[in-house]
Amino acid sequence: MCQIQIFDLRLFVIFALHMSEETPKNDYSETERDSIFHNEFMPHANSMYNFGYRLTLDEDGAKDLVQDTYLKAYRFINSFQQGTNAKAWLFRILKNSFINDYRKRSKEPNKVDYQDVESYYNSDDVDMPITTDLRVESIQDMIGDEISNALNALDVDFRTVIILCDLEGFKYDEMAKILDIPIGTVRSRLHRARNLLKEKLSEYAKKMGYN
């Protein structure tokens, strides 16, 4: 067996263990599986694609991630409890697929690894807001591309919390589960992410002569 196959097999086993440790297994019939998949999972396809795109910043990469996530969700559907938050469950699978599969495959040298910076994020201290002369009026004059580019320019871990919170409306406890981090870290990471986003938007505002 070649190294890549061993690596893929190891990731699959880790994923299977991860999914199975959380909840007691169900034994859904085929009709129930289809119903859950189509009625509870598929309605989140747009949000899933957008999350995948914001993580990878690549349309093909996002498509692969979303497909992979839905295939895993179907395979492990017996680990999903009907009536619980399907969107959060799917987002967690997608995030794990991004870290374990996509990012290792793409080996982007300019990306900061989660583990390398985790000690920085784990501080629950909330730093002071940046002193910016950014005004509400400047923000409201910006078009979509400027906001989108500013968001995409943030490190992946920072843009992730903004997407989960501001775009998808997840609560802190849901984000903590999706990202496998404490709620205090969610709060501090979100605060830092917003300060960095304000810095980017302030730069755009200055370029456009708003301030």
């Binding site: 598929m42 396809a45 957008n50 839905y70 923000i139 409201q140 906001i147 501001d166 775009l167 609560k171």
Partner: protein, 85 residues
């Protein structure tokens, strides 16, 4: 209260930042929200500015950064799932 009547410095910035974040993200209770906005934000210029700027950015991110699945992706997923049955 007019903006010019507000305090120019915040006496409790660290705690205020945390409370503002909780309010903006819907994590604070309705009572906490009402109490803080009425009794502090309306009287404190730094918190007043921060609150409105953060809300504007949050609203704009929601309005401008969402996206749609490419045509055909949902059908592709359904077709691949059909092969697993």
């Amino acid at each position: 209260m007019e903006p010019s009547d507000k305090k120019s410095n915040c006496d409790n910035q660290q705690n205020c930042i945390e409370m503002l974040q909780s309010i903006i993200d819907g994590e604070a209770s309705p009572e906490q929200r009402h109490d803080f906005l009425t009794n502090h934000v309306e009287k404190c210029m730094p918190c007043f500015k921060t609150y409105h700027l953060e809300m504007a950015i949050k609203d704009l991110v929601k309005a401008k950064c969402s996206g749609q699945c490419p045509d055909g992706l949902v059908d592709e997923i359904k077709a691949r799932i059909a092969t697993l049955r």
